[in-house]
């Protein structure tokens, strides 16, 4: 835990692996949010219209 993180060097891009993993996880969460159906009350999608 006290050791410095490993870094990825890609040209001018320098990023720590933990930061890269977090960004990858955020992309995964974003894609999941797009794909997973949202639970709608009564099992109907699009029941509400204000």
């Amino acid at each position: 835990m006290d050791n410095p993180a490993a870094y990825l060097h890609l040209g001018f891009i320098v990023i720590s692996l933990p930061n890269l993993a977090l960004i990858a996880a955020m992309v995964v969460v974003f894609v999941i949010a797009l794909l997973v159906p949202f639970p709608i009350e009564g099992g109907r999608r699009g029941g509400g219209k204000r």
């Binding site: 977090l22 955020m26 969460v29 974003f30 999941i32 949010a33 797009l34 997973v36 949202f38 709608i40 999608r45 699009g46 029941g47 509400g48 219209k49 204000r50």
Partner: protein, 212 residues
């Protein structure tokens, strides 16, 4: 002096003007939503409210930390627990704020008069970075000293060093626990009210809220 009093509607009044503006833009019956358009049935729309939930935890844990002080949060197990609670709720706050930003960016949520909502959101993001930075340098440990000592040159190079001394714990702590949280809370309230006034943006090429 005359005893004549003009009818209420003719007396110039900034309070009445504000009342009328609010009543026009956000009637009381629309203040809190009970139904949402069909397209809001997506997890992407949950990122914003999760960000606000994380902010509630940030503020609640921050109030406890501010009450007991640095020695408590570094040397007691309960203090370290609340310190961690504050840290991890900040991580969630930033993660979901950025996910919310991605979602709103890809649906071009500044459309149809919502540019002020988008811009206030961008300002919240920037002010939150100031909050995180002042928090990092106000931890009262070697980590915060290291960050402050490294950051001072960048801050001085930017010209802000004359009034923003990152090595001054009192200044950083005051900003972190008072001025910046008040600013963020105020801006978030304005942001949410703006969303309620204009409604949630419809997906591109989908009928908006007003359409049937």
């Amino acid at each position: 002096m005359s005893d004549d009093v003009a009818p209420d509607s003719q007396v110039p009044s900034w309070t009445r003007a504000v009342q009328q503006r609010l009543a026009r833009g956000l009637p009381v019956e629309r203040l809190l939503p009970d139904r949402q358009p069909v397209y809001v049935g997506s997890w992407v729309y949950a990122f914003g409210v999760i960000t606000i939930a994380a902010l509630v935890w940030v503020i609640a844990s921050g109030v406890v930390l501010a009450f007991f002080g640095p020695q408590w949060w570094h040397t007691t197990s309960t203090g370290r627990f609340f310190n961690s609670l504050h840290f991890w709720s900040v991580q969630l706050f930033f993660v979901f704020m950025v996910l919310h930003l991605w979602g709103q960016f890809f649906m071009a949520s500044w459309r149809e008069g919502r540019a002020p909502t988008w811009m206030i959101g961008a300002v919240i993001f920037l002010v939150s970075i100031v909050a995180a930075f002042t928090g990092y340098v106000a931890q009262q440990n070697l980590d915060s000293q290291w960050i402050a000592a490294n950051a001072k040159d960048a801050v001085n190079a930017s010209g802000a060093g004359g009034f923003f001394n990152v090595l001054n714990f009192g200044q950083m702590y005051g900003l972190h626990v008072m001025l910046v949280p008040v600013a963020i809370t105020f801006l978030v309230v304005v942001h949410v009210v703006q969303v309620r006034m204009r409604g949630v943006v419809a997906p591109i090429e989908a009928p908006g809220e007003g359409a049937e």
